[in-house]
Every structure is written in C-alpha cells, then in structure tokens.
C-alpha cells in the first residue's frame, strides 16, 4: 500500500535504534527546536573541528519520521566538512519538496532516500526537517563561536 512508501523498513529501523541519540556532554553549540504544530522536540549538539563536523548528538521525542530523519542525519553528516554537509542538506531539502516526483540521490543521501515518500504527505515534511533545521542552526552557531 501507499503507506509503505512512507514507512520504509529503514525508517522503522532508525526509529527503533536511533543513532547518536545521547547528548554528548561537550559541544560547541546546543540548540532546542520544537515543531509547534505537533509538539515534537529535539535538543541537538554539534562539535566542529575547524570546518569538520566532528560530532552530532541529540535527544528528543517525536514520530518515527522525525526521529529516523535526525538519526540518519547524524550518520550522514558526522565526518563531513560543512560545505559537504550543506550539499547533503540542500539535496535532502530538495527531495522533501519534490511532492513524490523524485527518488533522491542515493550516493549522496544514503539512508535518507528512504524518506522520499514523506514528500507525498505535506503534513509530515516538517517532521522530517526538524532535525535538519536544528543542525543548520547549531552548525551556524558553532561556526560563529570560532570567530
């Protein structure tokens, strides 16, 4: 059924076994984001080493889409430099806005292409973007701290 496009196995796996879901005690920036329409919340820590994303850790509560999306984000972005991370984030954002017309670049987005189905459910796009918005905010703050 169409619902299976939304809830792919990969998403449910990440929901049940979220990656990096334990806030690291040290960080360059910490942000707290809320989805006011549904109450989903996330706290996300970012540590940079120059322009390298050295660590991303998080805690939060929300639906499988929001939780899986941030779990996938940590796997994808840790170890990349900020420019590469931006390319990935832009590509993910583009996929979310594609209204089901695109499958996503698997080489670039890896597990995140499993979220392609979200783009067919307008009410859920915000869920998928919650962690990505938090990362964007935190990385800008962390970078600013470097002066």
């Amino acid at each position: 059924m169409q619902l299976d496009n939304l809830y792919q196995e990969v998403i449910l796996d990440h929901y049940k076994n979220p990656q990096h879901k334990k806030l690291n005690a040290t960080y360059d920036a910490q942000v707290h984001h809320i989805n006011p329409s549904c109450g989903d919340e996330i706290t996300l820590n970012v540590t940079l080493d120059g322009d390298l994303v050295k660590d991303v850790s998080w805690d939060g509560m929300g639906c499988s889409i929001s939780q899986a999306s941030v779990s996938i984000l940590t796997d994808l972005l840790i170890g990349k430099n900020l420019d590469q991370a931006q390319v990935v984030a832009d590509s993910f954002m583009h996929l979310m806005q594609s209204k089901g017309t695109e499958k996503g670049d698997e080489e670039l987005l890896e597990d995140a292409v499993a979220l392609a189905g979200v783009s067919q459910y307008p009410a859920r796009i915000k869920c998928a973007l919650l962690g990505w918005m938090a990362f964007k905010d935190a990385s800008v703050q962390a970078l600013a701290k470097q002066g």
């Binding site: 109450g39 929300g62 639906c63 499988s64 869920c127």
Partner: protein, 415 residues
C-alpha cells in the same frame, strides 16, 4: 422522530465521499471541526445567491432581507442557549470571542467593574485550550494582574480542593472550559460559579466542546459569559458566538471599534451603541451567521437530548472497545460519568502521528498532537495523543473501524 445516525449521515454530503483510494470515510475528528449538512451549505450559499447586502445599512430590499436573516440567526442562537436576543454577539470565532472579553476587560477604566490592576487575579485551569489560556496570560501581563489556575488530577479531573483559596477577593474572572477538548472531561460548574459570584468575580465559559453536543441553558448554568464556535456545531467556519449577561455587556467596554458599533461620532470621540452591536464593529460575517442559524435549527430538530444520548452510548462503546487493546492508555476519564465524546489515548511506543497516518490510510480521520492544550499534555506526561471525537452522524461501525484500525497499526509498526 426516532434518532438514527445512519439517516442523519445522509444529510452530510461529505460523509458519502471516499478517501485514500476508495476507502469509506470514517470521520472521527468533529472535536476539531464538524461536517456540514446540506441545509447549512444551502443556507450559506442562498444568502449569497439571493439576499446578500450589508446588514443594518442601506435603504433597499436586499438590505432588509439580509438584516432579517442575520437578526433571525441571532434569535435562533438566543433560543438555543436560553438567552435574551441582545445578549448574543456574533464574532468570527470562539477564539475571537475569548479575546474579545479579555481585551475588553483590558480596556476597562478605573471605576468599571471589569478594571484590572496589579492586586487582582485571573483564574483559569490547566486543561484549557490555548484559546482560553493565552488571552488571559496576555491580559495579566498587560494589567499586572496575577494568573492562577486549577490543576488537573491524574484522572483528568479538575482539582477543586483549593477552590476557596484560589478564588478569593482578588479574583476578577474565572475562565474555564465546560468540556476538555483533550480529556473529554465535563467540568462541574456549580461550586465554581457559586464561589466566583461570592467574591464578585465573573465566570467565562469556553463551551466549544459542549454547546454542540448537549442542551445548554446559560441561565441554569449561572455563568456570566460563554463562547462557542459555529464550525464545531455543524455550522460554517468564520462565525463564533460571544454570549454575556445583559447587565454585564452593558458595562463591558468594546474590543474592536469602527462602523456599526457606534451611537454618535465626532472628530474627537465616539459613544457606543448598546449590546450586541457595541461588540460587532464592521460588516459582520453575515452568510456564516445565517448558516449557523440553519445549523442550530437542524440540531434542534434532531434534538439536543437525543444527540447527547447518542454520543454517550458511542463513547461508552468506544471506551470499552479501546480498553481491551494491549498497550492502549486512555488519557482522561475511563467512564462516561461527567464526560463527553472526545477520547484521547496513547498506544505503547507508537507515536500518535504514526498511528494517525496509519488510520488515515484506512480512511479513518482522527486528530493527533497536543490539541492546542500543550500545558495539559505536558502535565500528563504525554507530549502527544491520538484523539477520536464523535458526533451525531457517527455510528458504532465507525468505532469498530477505529478499533480494528488501531489493532492494524500495532501489527504494521510492530513488524
């Protein structure tokens, strides 16, 4: 006439459409907004088609017809609530009604009974919808008054044990919901209104979840102000009701000012028309008010007692049906004692959004989230719930679909 939900459902055209690839629509989200019967859709469109003109103005026949239709709707609302006609104010929504009184109180000068200052208090409850919380938070912030609240017990009832100390001589207003939009809890009002009036406070009732579902008599309730929305009572969007006792409306300053609400205007100042017009600045949402009149006439014909009984039997059926599902937890009273047809629940580790999405794939429409009562869901330790709400057109078939849908979701997400 016997009450038959299946026959009633035929009056609501949307209920015969299909959803998500041909599934029967099971609409269990009337607590958010109700569906509309043909008589309401026709009344609204007939107003535009045949009678449209600005009410209370114009020297022509259409203006007369529009005014008759609009004032006729006011009379229907008054009868529905057992109120006097001049006590009924049309607003654009219940949210506007509640903001109206909060802002109007903020406009009251020293000497006016509604004037607030730093020594005064406003009492609300932890189970308020944001629309009956934030306007009071804001009023407190503007005037320096203190905001206090009744807490909610683990069973989802108001804790009234501190009624006499919470509502004291400093209290100017007690604002609370008649029925929680999350828990379904119906609040007993008698002790609260007695205590409020004892200390000279007014009682503002958010009746959005009660007026559409049970007979309401504002005189018998002994309240001072009441708000409800048209769209939850099979009426159109864009129309709400603000009701107030005549003597209080006479003293309450206006909120919105402008055309229609005046008695006399000079370049320096203005005086106000008597209520209800004092509170109806500008050309109102006429077609929607007329549609609301048709809606309440329809509900009256079905019988508010019948509707309430029907919903009580559905609620009992639903509570029993849900109670056997493993990991399902009802958030709110578990019996139909002082409770309406709004049933919130959680389901193990399955997030309400995911459950709602699965139910949607089966054609079942429910609400998920914090239901605009975030402080309440936080207090109860459930950041989000799934909520089913019933109305006159729902049947046990709808509830069976929900119950098996919930079980289906457990299988689906348990894979």
């Amino acid at each position: 006439m016997t009450f038959d939900a299946r026959t009633i459902a035929k009056d609501f055209p949307i209920l015969s459409r299909t959803i998500r690839d041909g599934k029967r629509l099971v609409y269990l989200d009337s607590g958010a907004t109700s569906q509309k019967p043909n008589v309401v859709i026709d009344a609204e469109s007939d107003f535009y088609r045949l009678h449209n003109a600005a009410v209370h103005r114009g020297a022509h026949q259409l203006a007369e017809e529009a005014t008759d239709a609009y004032e006729g709707a006011r009379s229907i609302v008054a009868n529905f609530l057992n109120a006097d006609i001049d006590e009924v104010v049309f607003t654009k929504s219940a949210t506007e009604s509640l903001n109206l009184i909060a802002y109007a109180m903020g406009n009251a000068q020293i000497g006016n009974r509604f004037h607030l200052n730093a020594g005064d208090s406003i009492v609300v409850t932890e189970m308020e919808h944001h629309a009956n919380l934030i306007p009071w938070q804001q009023l407190a912030a503007r005037t320096g008054a203190t905001l206090k609240w009744f807490t909610v017990t683990a069973e989802g009832r108001l804790d009234l044990s501190n009624l006499d100390s919470l509502v004291d001589a400093s209290t100017k207003v007690v604002a609370l919901t008649h029925q929680s939009n999350v828990l379904g809890t119906i609040n007993p009002l008698e002790d609260i209104t007695r205590r409020a009036h004892e200390v000279g406070a007014v009682v503002v009732l958010d009746a959005c979840q009660s007026v559409p579902h049970m007979p309401t008599d504002v005189k018998a309730l002994d309240i001072d102000f009441l708000a409800f929305s048209g769209h939850k009572a099979v009426g159109p969007t864009g129309v709400g009701i603000f009701w107030g006792r005549a003597d209080l409306l006479a003293e309450l300053p206006p909120f919105l000012t402008g055309g229609s609400m005046i008695e006399n205007v000079t370049m320096e100042s203005a005086t106000w028309a008597p209520a209800p017009r004092k509170f109806e600045a500008g050309v109102p949402n006429m077609a929607q008010a007329v549609g609301l009149g048709a809606a309440l006439t329809y509900l009256t014909a079905m019988g508010m007692d019948n509707i309430h009984q029907h919903e009580m039997s559905l609620t009992k059926y639903l509570l029993e049906g849900l109670s056997v599902i493993t990991d399902l937890r009802i958030i709110g009273p578990k019996t139909t004692d002082l409770r309406g047809g709004v049933v919130s629940f959680t389901l193990g580790d399955i997030h309400p959004h995911d459950l709602g999405q699965y139910l949607d794939s089966q054609g079942i429409a429910v609400r998920t989230g914090h239901h605009c009562a975030w402080p309440l869901t936080r207090k109860l330790g459930v950041p989000a719930t799934t909520r089913a709400s019933v109305y006159l057109y729902n049947t046990t078939d709808d509830l069976d679909a929900l119950i098996s849908g919930v079980q289906g979701a457990q299988k689906y997400f348990g894979r």
